[in-house]
Amino acid sequence: MAAGRPAHGRPAVSPPQRAGYFAGVADTRHQYDVLAGLYLPIAAGVVLLVVLLVVAFAWRYRARPASAGAAGADRRPSRIHRAPKTEALYVLVLACVAAFLLWHTFTIEGRVDHAASGRGVHVVATAAKWHWSFDYPRAGIVQQGTDERPPTLVVPAGRTVDVTLRALDVIHAFWIPERRFKRDATPGFVSSFSLVFPRPGFWRDGGECSEYCGLRHTWMKFHVRVLAPAAFARWLRARQSGAAA
């Protein structure tokens, strides 16, 4: 999906100014980056600390041959084998780290999981072995693909897109990596969520099925096209009047 990605580098971290509070909240990529920016440095720090301690201890406390002289002569290993107070304090620190991470996780999750606002563009995404299709019920149009040519999800930039997701046969999953968001599509169960695409662009294979769904799961993809609001309106009118996508 990285092929043809226009802005390969950093994403639009800050929500678009004109989109208002809700669009900023539904900018899943922004929310993801904020949270990952918190988790990753801590994780990297812990890994680094463990590597350093392993190397330092293996060197500092290595067994030395007795012939190495008085300075290198082997000492007897320590016999201390419990330190309940230190360990309790350490557990307290661990618990605080867990609480800190969870606090931020819950805050961000509340924003990402915000139910469909009902104020944006409504798209019904349907997954079936092994194709996607996208209905725009208010405009009365459907985006479909073929085995050779995946369909394109067309959305306006900076506006909320309320997605209703369903599956017809087996479990699929709707994943747009650029938006850092994914949701399962379970047959018989409809899930709703809101996405915001801050910038216009085209993402070849920018949407994927990420739940294994049988033979052609590998190739179950869709393209994503984000148009400026005016261009999106033109596109809708053109599609309604029967012109090609």
């Binding site: 990285a2 463990v50 406390y61 949701r183 399962d184 294994y212 799961h217």
Partner: protein, 544 residues
């Protein structure tokens, strides 16, 4: 001219039992070694499947196989690794070592354990026989979600074979866990109270408890799946799909810990032995194991964060809380090494490798325990990287710690240290080269369980690196197998206690006699009775 001098000492060859003698022995050592070897053979077989997948993924497009073939490969790779390798080998370690560690002469219900071995062999054969059927082996993933695995969507008989294989292996695991737990409860030597159990035996207690609570859910899930495929009407609609996922992950998460704890125990024994110190903070450690097990039984819903059908916050809370007991294991590891006398023999190298690799699996596990982060990376290569750091970096490194640590005890012969170091460093390089690029692949959007990916992106390089790493892992395993062969041929005698061990198994011959202990046992005053004796001797030689 060595011919003139005294012949080099060689360890005695064990008496040959013959095929029937081997397949029908109720001696827990023969049984443990048999199940262990069977499971290791399945490890190699599943490794070959992984190599085939990595060859296919080395370059974009399909070269070696069809989509269907690839789907069979990842299904059988995961299934074989979990049901036929990791779980059986974890329990086999307990079958062999626990009676020795607790000073017992036998395994309780040994004939049940023998039947388990046959069930594992039978289950494995049935599962793999799918490859010989017209429609091929199962291709529904090791977790076989419904409705994909129901009869209309996956009509192949290979899928039915697979279900039967899983049920057999799961039943065997339950039986083995029952045997090991019963042995610990009823066969302990005088003085061996529960709070004097060696660290490895404690991890086996926890492992067995988890098998006994989690694996029945798997048998129920699979039995109902078989009924669904034959008659329908069991898992219906979305509710049926979610019910299946709950049942499966109620087993599917704990199993990760089932195949982790025994090797954590092995790593703890190795760190203590090769630091010349007893394991630090024994009682808090035992408590933390119980907390670990309890939490890991209550996190299964994090596999379902993206379904919109579970209470994400609850499962996020329990999953994140796992960092507390895991942190305690690390604290105790470092505190054991602190001011020790560290000998970097092969078992210790693998134990330190475990500490380094598992923390990468652990911290990324906390990362994906956060639902908003999991939404992006779940079912992507990020997850593949994460759990291979826990299962390969954790369990397999711990397994090799156990193999190098107890090989002299089991065979009476020594492995080559030089080949062991080669094995270790090749594994470390190969493992990181294989799995670290997968973090980037997943982050950039490569889904799991795909045989093909678009050309002309960074994915080609990352996948190629990963495939080269997989080939390195294969080479490291060949070095290991060569070491094994060499050790069994040269038979350099190990003696009863080559490492300065701390627990009772090092107080008997290598390999142990049929009855395990011929003379009286050393007194058991703590979880490290031989270390007690050693410290007592030092005290007498150099009064403080």
């Amino acid at each position: 001219m060595t011919a003139i001098g005294a012949p080099r000492a060689r360890a005695a060859r064990p008496p040959r039992r013959g095929l029937v003698g081997t397949l029908a022995s109720t001696d827990h050592k023969a049984l443990g070694a048999g199940i262990f070897t069977t499971a290791f053979a399945f490890f190699l077989a599943a490794g070959v499947l992984a190599l085939l997948m990595r060859f296919e993924l080395a370059r974009p497009h399909l070269q070696l196989m069809t989509l269907h073939g690839y789907n069979e490969l990842f299904t059988l790779h995961g299934s074989t690794m979990f049901y036929l390798f990791a779980t059986p080998i974890a329990l086999a370690s307990g079958v062999y070592l626990v009676p020795l560690q607790i000073g017992a002469g036998r395994l309780k219900w040994a004939r049940l354990a023998l039947a388990s071995w046959w069930m594992i062999i039978g289950g494995g054969l049935v599962m793999w026989l799918g490859f010989l059927t017209v429609q091929g082996a199962a291709d529904v993933g090791w977790y076989s979600y419904v409705p994909l695995s129901d009869a209309p969507n996956s009509p192949s008989v290979g899928t039915d074979y697979w279900i039967v294989g899983v049920i057999l292996a799961a039943a065997a695991a339950i039986a083995l866990a029952a045997c090991v737990l019963a042995t610990i409860v009823t066969e302990r030597a005088p003085g061996m109270t529960m709070l004097r159990l060696p660290v490895f035996s404690w991890t086996m207690v926890i492992t067995c408890l988890m098998v006994l609570t989690a694996f029945p859910a798997l048998i129920v899930a699979m039995g109902l799946l078989l009924a669904q495929r034959q008659f329908g009407g069991v898992y219906t609609g979305a509710a049926g799909a979610f019910d299946y996922q709950h049942l499966f992950w109620f087993f599917g998460h704990p199993v990760v810990y089932v195949v982790f704890f025994p090797f954590l125990g092995a790593v703890a024994e190795a760190i203590a032995t090769f630091s010349g110190r007893r394991w630090f903070g024994y009682r808090p450690f035992v408590l933390s194991l119980l907390l670990f097990a309890a939490l890991s039984m209550s996190v299964w819903g994090h596999h379902m964060f993206t379904t919109s059908a579970v209470e994400n916050k609850y499962f996020s809370l329990t999953s994140t809380a796992l960092l507390v007991p895991a942190g305690i294991e690390y604290f105790d590891s470092f505190a054991t090494m602190w001011r020790g006398r560290i000998r970097l023999m092969t078992p210790m190298l693998f134990a330190l490798g475990f500490l380094v690799l598992f923390v990468i699996g652990g911290t990324t596990g906390i990362f994906i325990g956060s639902p908003p982060l999991d939404y992006h990376v779940t079912d992507s290569y990020f997850i593949v990287a994460h759990f291979h750091y826990t299962l390969f970096g954790g369990s397999v490194m711990g397994l090799f710690t156990a193999i190098y640590l107890w090989w002299p005890k089991v065979t009476g012969t020594l492995l080559s240290e030089r080949l062991g170091r080669w094995h270790f460093w090749l594994t470390m390089v190969g493992m990181n080269l294989t799995f670290f690029p997968m973090f980037f692949l997943g982050w950039e959007g490569m889904p799991r369980r795909v045989a093909d990916y678009p050309p002309g992106t960074s994915w080609s390089t990352l996948n190629l690196l990963s495939s080269i790493g997989a080939a390195l892992i294969a080479v490291s395993l060949l070095v290991f197998l060569w070491n094994v062969r060499r050790s069994l041929r040269r038979r350099v005698p190990a003696g009863p206690d080559p490492w300065g061990g701390q627990t009772l198994e090092w107080a008997t011959d290598s390999p142990p006699p049929r009855e395990n202990f011929l003379g009286p046992l050393p007194p058991v005053r703590s979880f490290a009775p031989l270390q007690d004796l050693r410290e007592q001797r030092e005290q007498e030689v150099q009064p403080a």
